[in-house]
Structures are given as C-alpha cells and as structure tokens.
Amino acid sequence: MYQQLEARLKSREPVLLDGAMGTELVRRGVRWRKHGLLTDADSVQRLHEEYLAAGADVMRTNTFQLNPRIYLNVFRNRQHMRHIGAPGLEDLTPRLLRTSVRVARQARANAGREKQAAIAGVLAPLEHCFRPDLAPAFEQASAEQLELARVFAEEGADLLLAESMNTIAEARAVAEAARTVGLPVWISFVIGPEGELLSREPLAQAIAEVEKLGAQAVLVNCAPPAEIGRALAKVKVATRLPYGGFAHIGKFSPPSWKFEFFPQFTETENWPPERYASEAQRWREEGATILGGCCGTTPAHIAAVNTSLHARREGARSA
C-alpha cells in the first residue's frame, strides 16, 4: 500500500490527508473519553468514511496524544493509579491503539478503498503537544514511542505520522522508533509564534535531523493557515523530501482541567471550506504535495481541498 503513496510523492503528485478527528467528534457531540474509541467507535468510523468520501488518500488514526502518560499523569504515581483508578487503565493504551487501526480499516473496507487509501498510525508528543518544556528526554521518549510504534506495526498500519512534534529530540525518537519497527514515517512539526518549532528550535535543523534518520516526508501543522504558509516557505528551501502541511482553523478553547489534550476549537466559522481550500492551493503552488486539515477542519474542508487540487490538475492537463 505504501509503495503507491511513495510513487505518487516521487512524481510530485498531490496526496490528500484527511482532516481533524478529535475536534470534529467533539463538535458532533461525542463525549471526549478514551478518544471515543470505546464508547463511540461507530462515530469515529463514520468520520473516517466521510473523509474517504471527501477524497482523502491518507487516513489518520484517532490517536493524537494517546499514550500511557495521559492517564498516569493524573495520579500521584502508578501505585495510586492501581489503588483508585478504573480497572484496566494500565493496559488501556495498546488496546485503544489497536481499536483505532481496526476502526480505520473497517471504514476503508466499507468505502471500498483498500487498494487506494493508506492508514497512518498517528503518534504525537508524549506530554502536552503545546508544552515542549514538559517533553521527556530523548532516551525516555525513544523507549515510550517505540512501544506505541510497535502496536501500529503489529496492527498493520501502512505508515506512521508523527504530528505536532514540538522538540527535535522527540522527533528523532519517533523517527528511530519507526525505523526499528520497519514502518515508513512522516514527521510533522507544530509551528510556534516565532515561525520555528514550538520549542523555538530552528525548523530547518529539525528537518535535517529527521531526514538523516530516514523520515520520508516532513510537514508542518497545528498553527493557523497563514503561519503554516510561511513555515512551508522555510521547509521548501530546507529539504528535498516531499513536504506538506495541515493548518488548524479557529481558536483552541482548552478545558479547565488537567487531563489529556481536549480537542475543542471555536470560531472556526471564519474559515469556511472554500477559504481553507484556496489557502491550501497556495501551498500546493509553492511546492507542497501533502495537504490536509488539522484541528477545526471537517470533511467539507477536505472535499473543498480535493476539488481545488483536481481543478488545478485538470487545468494543467488542458493547458
């Protein structure tokens, strides 16, 4: 499956990612617990199907920021978790990761796209994606990311997509983990207000490091569209790898609790699908080939990007 995708990337054809899972599930009224994978797997599957119908070539598992730390962090320690926590919390993460791949695979089968759409196992920073100061050291991150990557490999994900990576060290840890489990990996960085990684480390250096470790594509995500556009101009001169981006739209509206990343973005109405698609079209014209949507985007946004990419291709052909 991945070979097809690789061939398209090599020939600089565009590849369409899907849009947001978490924010869209919450917008649809899914109660955010266990990423909806236990209580609302049918809603998750339906959303995957809608993204496929919108034209997505890559389906991202609904596993952003899903790792054992998000549960352990809200207890005093492991012993306290066993003492007052729900049964099964310790083994919950691999179970949810496996479910996420199965749900995506079922959606792909229902859409009859087994031969065309790839399933990307989504990895993310182990601590809060917007808090690079909390990131574990490289060795620790390597060990934990490897465990997650291994589950995706066992479940038959076609590739890994590390999203919203906020430090170079953790991005390297993911790239190495992917190599160890034998899966291709795309690495995407969250862009801070300075236009570099959220950690303030230079984007160009981050790209060089993961390229060395065998990343097959680099992306930028989880910043507003204009900033993704500016970051892509930097990516363009920093790498010869295929590259791309997926912006969030609207404003992050966090919960007043400490639990895991809570996917709620408001004010997304300022970015109707056509406006987002015209922004993505500009990225395409600048040489980005992997395009999709981050928090706040919906199947309608992906469909609009798809339409605009096709229009461009048709136009190129008739010219």
Binding site: W32, R131, K251, K258, F259
Partner: protein
C-alpha cells in the same frame, strides 16, 4: 453571612452535613463536564445543588473544582502562544465561570433551602493537579493566584472557602493565609494515602500544627477511598482542636471520567460516616461518586449526639 449559623453549630459540637459530588454527578446524569457546564447548562448545575439542599446538606460547594486561570493557561506554551492560537476569552473566562459557580449555588439556596440556613462554600483546590504535589507552584506565586480567586468568589457572595483535595502543607498554608487576610471563613481538606499521610508524606500532626495557628475553621479529609480516609482520620483526630470532617470518594477514577460502583450504597456509606462521627468528626459529606441519595442518608447524623 450564612456561615455564622454553621460556625455556631460546629462550635456547639453539632454535626454539619456537606453536599456530595458535583463533577461526577454531572457525568452520571450523562452530561459532559468539559467547561463545568457553568456557561452552557447553568440550570442543570443549579438543579444538582438544589437536589443536595433538599437531601439535607447544610453546606453546598460550588462547581468550581480546578477552575482557575492557571488550569486554562497551562494548555499553552506561554502568553505569546496563547495569543497566537487561544480562544479570545481566556483572560477572564476562569473568573467569569468562578463567579457564575457561586451565583448558581446562591440561586439554588434561594429556591430550595426553605428558610433552613445553608452556606455556600466556594470549592477551590490546588492550583496544579490535586494528586501531584510535585507540580505545585512556589508559596509566593500560589498566594498571588489564590488572592485573585478568593476575591472573585468573595465578591460573588460565597460564605466560606472550602480548600479541597489539598496535597501539601505549604500550598495549604499559602491559601489559608490569603483567605484569612480577606476575612473569609476557611475549611481546608486534604487527600491522604493508605497510611493516613498527605501525598507529600507530611503527617497530619505537622499539618494541624501548621494550620491551626493561622485560624483555620475546620480540617477535613477527602478524595480518597473510605479506607484511606479512615486511616487519615485516625491520624488527624488526636491532634486537631478545630472541627474535623471527612468526605471520601466512592467508585473509581477513569480519567477524564468516573466509574460508579455499588460498593458503597447509601446505607453502607452512612455506616462509615457514622464511625467517623463517633470518632469525633462533625462535618460529613461526599466526594467523587457520591449522589444526593448518599447525602440524604447522612442527613440523619445531624440528630445524633455521638460524642467521642
């Protein structure tokens, strides 16, 4: 000030009933908890307060657990990042919701107390996560942030502050000093472990020695299973001279939600509360997992003398 009636009861050795859980009760009634539901479903929150008042609570606590500016800001790298991608109302969202939480409790009292004295306690916890004393800010920083919070709830009309699920003496002391400087009655409630110690390892004796001289109005234990609370009460009661109390959680924490179990139905819950009353505790209520039925079961304890 509705605290006077409560303070008088405690002074006379009478038992005071605190309400039960609000966060988990919201979940149990099948509503998500994301923004405390203060803005989106205020009548729903007020209804739960009313149910607790009708069940017999003398003190109701606001739906404001962990509601503070820091909890919202922690989701961002820093101010520049918050301005870049954050919702535009974050600067004053916590204050507005805090004030709303007090207002809703006061409204519930007006609708349901039927002339009975009921005090509204602003429920405030640690500034960082309640089970993680390692994350606590410095006492100086904590004082600045607690002052902001307490001023909001005082202006909104809270009768006392209930500092709950505290995990360390330094943060408790910082918060208590601020509350007292504002003239607010203040109960401090701590989470404890199976040995009856605070999560920092500090002892009940050390905690009592630190807080009583500062004028704490009552010391309680909460947010641990009944067995752990029992261990804590045994450690606490020999030292405390102020009124003491307990409100354990029942069920299991299933982040970000809760598993309700039938291990402690109201009748059994009453039995453990009664045992603490007999040991000397005078404030009894419920933490996560408890319901108005549990509080209704406790209401009869008010009539018991049960002196230790």
């Amino acid at each position: 000030m509705s605290y006077q009636a409560i303070g008088k009861k405690l002074g006379a050795g009478e038992t005071v009933i605190l309400d039960g859980a609000i966060g988990t009760e919201i979940l149990r009634r099948n509503v998500t908890w994301a923004d405390h539901q203060l803005a989106s479903r205020p009548e729903f929150v007020r209804g739960i307060h009313e149910d607790y008042i009708r069940a017999g609570a003398d003190v109701i606590s606001t739906n404001s657990f962990q509601l503070c500016r820091r909890a919202l800001y922690n989701h961002f790298r820093d101010e520049a990042h918050r301005r870049q991608i954050g919702a535009t109302d974050l600067d004053d969202r916590a204050d507005k919701l805090l004030a709303a939480s007090v207002r809703l409790a006061i409204e519930a009292r007006e609708r349901a107390a039927a002339g009975r004295p009921v005090a509204v306690a602003a429920a405030i916890t640690t500034l960082e996560w309640c089970f993680r004393p390692d994350l606590a800010p410095s006492p100086g920083q904590a004082k600045r942030e607690y002052r902001e919070i307490f001023e909001v709830v005082q202006d909104a009309g809270a009768d006392l502050v209930l500092l709950e699920t505290l995990n360390s003496i330094p943060e408790a002391r910082a918060a208590l000093e601020v509350a007292k400087s504002l003239g607010l009655p203040c109960w401090t409630s701590f989470v404890c472990d199976e040995r009856g110690r605070l999560f920092t390892g500090e002892t009940m004796a050390e905690m009592v020695a630190a807080l009583e001289p500062l004028g704490v109005d009552a010391i309680l234990l909460n947010c641990a299973p009944p067995g752990d609370i029992n261990a804590g009460m045994k450690e606490l009661l020999p030292y405390a001279r102020v009124a003491t109390g307990a409100y354990p959680h029942i069920g299991r924490f299933d982040p970000p939600e809760w598993v309700f179990t039938d291990e402690y139905p109201p009748a059994r819950y009453l039995q453990v509360a009664l045992s603490w009353q007999q040991m000397g505790a005078r404030i009894l209520g419920g933490c996560c997992g408890t319901t108005p039925d549990h509080i209704a079961a406790l209401a009869g304890l008010r009539q018991k003398t049960g002196r230790a």
